[in-house]
């Protein structure tokens, strides 16, 4: 990693840090690091050939989610709790979820503490990733980015993974899951009100759908049963 920094032109490093144009709660460079890192954690077709046809964090716009979350208290009403009862995805003309719920004083106290802490963790975590990459995480090779993330420096990979998951698979009003690509990739239809499901859809099988027993799935299943008691 040190060698990479040595190879990097000083001007480029300076440019990386000088770019402080804010993108929501993140500076331009911070957003670029988050984009690069989350694309390794949940890759799409351009990030990993194994994901051809399967959108990832980049396509779902997870960086948007993280930026919106860190800056959730800036807009009015704050972007903490999406409204209800319905979106316009399942039979309602109006999207109630697009209108966020006004926070009261008590909720605001908790969320200010949470977000102040998270902003600090992001500033530190992004700097740590940059440092580990010799100055700019975004210019490191994907394999090197993977190695850095796998070391979970300061727990920042774990934090990013949690927020990447939240962005990928939450309702799109929170800023990601763009075009519902996160839900589509896992065959999850998302919110279903006010249409709901029929009794037949609830009770009847949709038909055979064999599980692909690849190495990762087999490993996970083996781990899941490893602590099981015997049957009796």
């Amino acid at each position: 990693m040190l060698s990479l920094a040595a190879l990097m032109p000083r001007e480029l490093l300076a440019a990386a840090y000088a770019d402080t144009k804010p993108s929501g709660a993140l500076t331009g460079h911070q957003a670029a690091v988050v984009e690069a890192a989350t694309a390794r954690l949940v890759p799409g077709p351009t990030d990993d050939p194994a994901e051809a046809g399967h959108p990832g964090a980049r396509e779902a716009k997870v960086t948007n989610y993280i930026s919106a979350m860190l800056g959730a208290l800036d807009p009015s009403p704050p972007r903490v709790f999406a409204g209800g009862p319905f979106s316009n995805r399942a039979g309602s003309k109006r999207n109630d979820m697009a209108r966020f719920i006004k926070l009261d004083d008590v909720e605001r106290i908790g969320w200010k503490m949470r977000l102040d802490d998270l902003k600090q963790q992001y500033a530190t975590g992004i700097a740590t990733l940059d440092h580990a990459a010799g100055g700019d995480f975004t210019t490191a090779a994907p394999a090197e980015q993977d190695t850095i993330l796998a070391s979970d420096p300061g727990g920042f990979m774990s934090l990013l993974m949690q927020h990447t998951i939240e962005g990928m698979y939450s309702n799109p009003e929170y800023g990601a899951n763009a075009g519902l690509v996160g839900w589509t990739d896992i065959s999850f239809p998302g919110d279903s009100q006010p249409r709901g499901y029929t009794a037949v859809q609830v009770s009847r099988s949709d038909g055979p759908d064999p599980l692909e027993l690849n190495a990762v799935v087999q490993g996970a299943l083996a781990l899941i049963v490893s602590t099981a008691p015997p049957e009796s």
Binding site: F81, A82, G196, P210
Partner: protein
Amino acid sequence: MAAKRVVVVGSGAGGSMAAMVLADAGFDVTIFEKGRNYFGDLTEATPATQYSNDELKSDRYFTEPDPIIEPRTYRRVGDTEPRVTGVVQAMPQTVGGATVHWDAKTPRFWDIDFKKLSMLGPIPGADVADWPFAYRDIAPLYDEVEQLIGVSGDINQIAPGTLAHAPRTKALPMPPGPSQLSSLKAVAGCAALGLHAFPVPMAINSRSYDGRPACNNCGFCSNYGCPIHARVGALAPLRVALQRGARLRERAWVTRVVHANGRATGVEWLDARGVKHTEPADLVVLGALAIETVRLALMSQLPDPSAQIGRRIMFHWFSFATAIFHSERLHAYRGRSTTHVCDDFADPDFAGARQAAAAAGLPYFRGGTLELGGSSGPLTEAMSYLQVLPAASPGKPFGTAFKQLMRSSILRDRLMGIQMIGEDLPYPTNTVDLDPTVKDYRGLPVARITYSPGAYELAAQTFYLPKLRAIARASGAETTTAIAGVASDQYPIAASDRPDTAHVLGGMSMGTDPATSVTDGDGRMHSLPNVVVADGSGFPTAGAHNPTLTIMATALRNARAWARESG
């Protein structure tokens, strides 16, 4: 003469039921709810609502207290320091209480729950007790509550063993709703093993009822507020209370019951900005859910000559089985969260149970009711994979390996869960008190939970875990496992490192003897008779079934006694 003033602390199952009875009897009732009101006009059958199909909103403590500013602490019996400071047995603090996100299972407790000491006998180390009333006394109140909140089910399909312990004469107001595919798989597994599964009575509309629509099977059920009011719970009695003139104050946190010379005179409360107010009262009803009710009692220094307040907290001792289907998906994201149960393991005379108890040095034990079927949402699923990825994808616990697991959906769309709501005995060593150091955002001491299962719970768990797995296997799943719900010294590997069962009972138990109970047989504090208990903290024993219907029926019974004698 002016109507007597009643303060009800908490707008959930017990508090709302008490408010309904007392407002109907002409009392001047004010309900104080610590949390927010996410509804519109609550005198309507279907008020405007902010609840929605939104997993992230739920994970962001939309209804539960934010643990950053209102944590609890948890330690096991024998620990000196807490193991956890944060989320411990979190329950909604909002208008409607925990019934805004319950999955609305409404089984009745059994005859042996109300007369456990007389009918089953003592257990060493536990304070096994009889309730002040019997099943036959509360049965008509169960009927009333089932009509009020709208319960669906079919008494002709309820297992004979269940009916023997909880006899019924009246049909339920509505037939069962559609059976969930994952529940049907578990039902088949039970049948193959000679066990008796049946559609569980639940307070979810299967047709329009009392001005509210039928459930449309949206799938966001347990842990979510119902977006269409097909499931209301406490909102039904709350609606009647408000129609009868009760007032509701939201974000009004009662921090002290003011008392002197053996009588309460009112309460002190904080508004959303932390400004202190007082409210006079002739009767104070505690319904803040067991842990917060105990916390309020202790913060108020209510007279407690026998040191009984906060003793014998009970959570139910859960065990889980997981069935993973390789051949098909089960789409548990559609429908009510689970639609069937099996009560066989709640019977102390289940085949082999007496012998296993004897081998463990116990006169008997019980498991509990089994909730059959159900799964989780994708956020929960994804976080679960993070636990297995370090082993399943060594060196790179993310990337395409993670996405392959998400697409396989072994822990969501292919998963069928079974959970046993294990009976949890009243132990004097399982307690809630005020944490000596940890404070909340207003500087008030938080609740400290000291809790461990006893030999009874662990022996039952050891006996039933393999049987839970056997049901999963018999249901047709290729991969099965079973696991303890909460970690213990005996089962360190568990689904959770802390109590998180959302069943919270005891701590202010009813009884006849002031030396061993906090309230009398009608929920009045022995030491302060105009302070009464309306929530599950009054339960002398926990039963082996979901408790909310019994909380509401008990509150209905006791509130009528308060109305008679305070009026």
